[in-house]
Symmetry: C2
Amino acid sequence: MDTFDRKILSALIEDAEMSYEVLGQRVGLSPPAAHARVKKLRESGAIEHSTLKIDPVKVGKPLLAFVFVDFAGWGKSRKLMQIDQFPEVEEIHSVAGDSGLLIKVRTRDAHALELFLAKLYENSGVQTTKSYIVLSTFLERGTQANATGDWEVDLLPG
Amino acid sequence: MDTFDRKILSALIEDAEMSYEVLGQRVGLSPPAAHARVKKLRESGAIEHSTLKIDPVKVGKPLLAFVFVDFAGWGKSRKLMQIDQFPEVEEIHSVAGDSGLLIKVRTRDAHALELFLAKLYENSGVQTTKSYIVLSTFLERGTQANATGDWEVDLLPG
DNA sequence: GATGAAAGTTACTCAAG
DNA sequence: CTTGAGTAACTTTCATC
């Protein structure tokens, strides 16, 4: 995972359908060299899979919310994990602090969110939920390949 | 945006590099028909762009956190918006409730998160931050194309 | 690492039903 | 919408430097 690999990942994160010829000249490698590195990045698992960024509004899910879920105990957490079956749910994390789970959920409207929350409460063990409604999103992207300072280093010769 | 379109999006979200032949037989269309629909989905903006799902650990960012940021006022929000320059930052939302902004940030370790928070406090107007450290992630995916109930409907004839 | 080349596959478009 | 066909482009690998 050197600078070339990070440049390749950064380029493909922006547009995964770039040809190896274009990719190569963007990162300063020949097409075969770029291809070999992408292959290794896939085999190593650094690239999990290719996917699409979808416009939430166009698929009828303009309302985004983050829901914190508190439990009485951890016994029923298995059943609650099945909420990944809901296509409205995009993320499920367990978090440190005063809450148990943090769920990112995207619905058609407030009523659909209410129905989802009702499903949550059907699980015994769920004590309270606290929802944060998103008013507007300024940035939303996947994991970036570079870290702070990477670009400055890249500008140096050598 | 009919059932075919949602099936196409769902398939490409799982694997965007599928050939139109495979895509067609997965959704029940001929390759040219599948191709034409994908083209329209791009032109309509429903598909924003193709991207890669990256393994955060493999790129050196195993620590995920959600940070709520409170302001004194909205005057300096423009400057604070520049935090999208940080590759650690994946999402920036303004949320209703007792906080102003919600930031999803992924760093190498707790120290790197601390450095990022220090950058936030450099902005005048930032009053407090409240961070939720993610202990484990059970689900993390992009916006799904279907809504609850879609699959049941699809199983019906006609 | 670069180049050049080869074979196989796919993208993309169109005509016709 | 389907089938069938066609060209251009790309992927993928390999031999060579």
